[in-house]
């Protein structure tokens, strides 16, 4: 990997990190276990490695944003996650923040394109 590619990869991961948390919280407004969550995110175009997603769920739970319970489904014990009440509140705040950032970035990019024309 060249220096530029390495730099891009680091910046891309940095950019994705916060977005992935938001996407996971969004998906867990509905109860899911790890694998179905990963599939749901992938279906929406957000592919996450197992080694990133499963530990992320643990961290969000430790932070009080998620609650989980072990339950049997299809003859197999699975750990189901969903948003906690604190998680819902923080998710709404993050969503607003993300929409505001998104609008600002679009406006900035469009302003630059207009000035270049």
């Amino acid at each position: 990997m060249t220096l530029a590619e390495n730099l891009f990869e680091n910046l891309r991961l940095e950019l994705r990190r916060g977005c992935l948390t938001l996407a996971v919280l969004a998906q867990l407004r509905q109860e899911r276990y790890g694998y179905t969550l990963r599939k749901a995110l992938a279906d929406h175009g957000l592919v996450i490695d197992e080694s990133t997603l499963y530990p992320l769920l643990r961290r969000l739970e430790a932070q009080g944003l998620l609650v989980s319970e072990w339950r049997e489904e299809d003859k197999r014990n699975k750990r189901f996650y969903r948003l906690s009440s604190d998680g819902e509140q923080i998710f709404n705040q993050l969503l607003q923040e993300w929409q505001s950032i998104n609008t600002s970035i679009h406006a900035t990019i469009n302003a630059n394109i207009d000035s270049n024309l």
Partner: protein
């Protein structure tokens, strides 16, 4: 699937023991569900090669387990700036103290030789590494205490939280009280020459010619010698120079060498009175003594009294000048503080 079991067992080894079972059970459930779906799509079990490729995509067991660990630091980003600052200060003070101790040992003691000096220089890396190790150990312990909530972090960063823009050093192109601020090279030269002066000072007791040149021979041959009080006077002067050198080195390292040195000047003027008062306090002003009083008292007694009286008067005059200088500095400081207060009140 045996390969998956082996993979999970390898991951388990790198997990914290309190959470091993829970994490492995969850990981197994997720991976088995994924495997089932893959096999259902293919309509057959995965071949060994396909299973290996799949597990390879998950990442090495150590890598997978590492994602479950909290981020760990020996010294975290919150404490690191304080650590770095303390480390630099510790290095500077360590070198100053080590240099002084070495110079005293090598020159003042009996074993002055070039090889002793070379040995002292070669010991420098070990001394610095020991200093760095201790500072790092202390800060690693603080980091541990902070991350385990034994210590409140705001206590550590309080000095930086209470900083005032008024304490910032003036710009290089701005005059302070009509004088041009000192440049970095000037401040560095002061420290370097201060250090050389200290070495010279420490060499004087065993090499008086460094101070009075050929007069040392005359002093040796004369019937007079210095009273023991001069040794205390000498160490007072050394202590003052060490203090000043330390003060200036610290300012240089902190980047505040351009700030006015009013406090330093006043402190040094006040402390400078101590050795003078020490000389004035000698009984009968006997700062110079006869080497052989029984033999020489009749011949040199009157001259000795006269010399001692002149030494006393000279020290008294010097003391009076120092007191005046100190009063002047204090008066100026009080006046400037009053002006600043008046200006701030406008």
């Amino acid at each position: 699937m045996e390969l998956l079991d082996r993979y999970l067992e390898a991951v388990r080894k790198h997990l914290p023991w309190q959470r091993q079972d829970d994490i492995i059970a969850e990981l197994r459930a997720n991976l088995e569900a994924q495997l089932e779906e893959k096999e259902a799509a293919l309509g057959r079990p995965l071949t060994k090669e396909e299973a290996e490729d799949w597990l390879k995509q998950l990442g090495a067991p150590l890598q997978m387990a590492a994602h479950y660990q909290p981020q760990q630091y020996l010294i975290g980003p919150a404490i690191f700036p304080v650590y770095w600052y303390v480390l630099k200060m510790a290095f500077a003070w360590c070198m100053i103290i080590y240099s002084i101790v070495t110079v005293v040992q090598v020159f003042v003691a009996q074993n002055a030789s070039p090889s002793a000096l070379v040995e002292a220089v070669l010991r420098v890396p070990a001394v610095l590494m020991t200093t760095a190790a201790w500072v790092t150990l202390v800060f690693a312990a603080i980091e541990y205490a902070v991350t385990h909530s034994w210590v409140n972090l705001p206590v550590m960063v309080a000095p930086s939280a209470s900083w005032s823009p008024g304490t910032l050093a003036p710009l290089a192109n701005q005059a302070d009280h009509g004088k041009k601020p000192r440049s970095y090279s000037q401040a560095l030269a002061e420290v370097v020459f201060g250090f050389l002066f200290l070495i010279w000072l420490l060499l004087i007791p065993r090499n008086p010619w460094l101070l009075i040149g050929p007069g040392a021979l005359y002093l040796n041959a004369s019937p007079y010698h210095l009273a023991p009080i001069w040794l205390q006077f000498f160490w007072c002067i050394v202590a003052l120079n060490v203090l000043q050198l330390g003060w200036r080195s610290e300012k240089l390292l902190r980047g505040t060498w351009q700030k006015p040195r009013t406090t330093e000047r006043i402190a040094m003027s006040a402390l400078g009175l101590i050795p003078l008062v020490l000389l004035l306090s000698v009984r009968d002003h006997a700062t110079i003594l006869l080497k052989h009083p029984a033999l020489d008292q009749a011949r040199y007694g009157a001259a000795l009294d006269s010399i001692n009286l002149w030494v006393y008067r000279s020290v008294l005059l010097l003391c009076a000048i120092s007191v005046l200088q100190l009063s002047w500095e204090l008066g100026r400081m009080i006046l400037n503080a009053y002006r600043r207060r008046v200006a701030a009140g406008r």
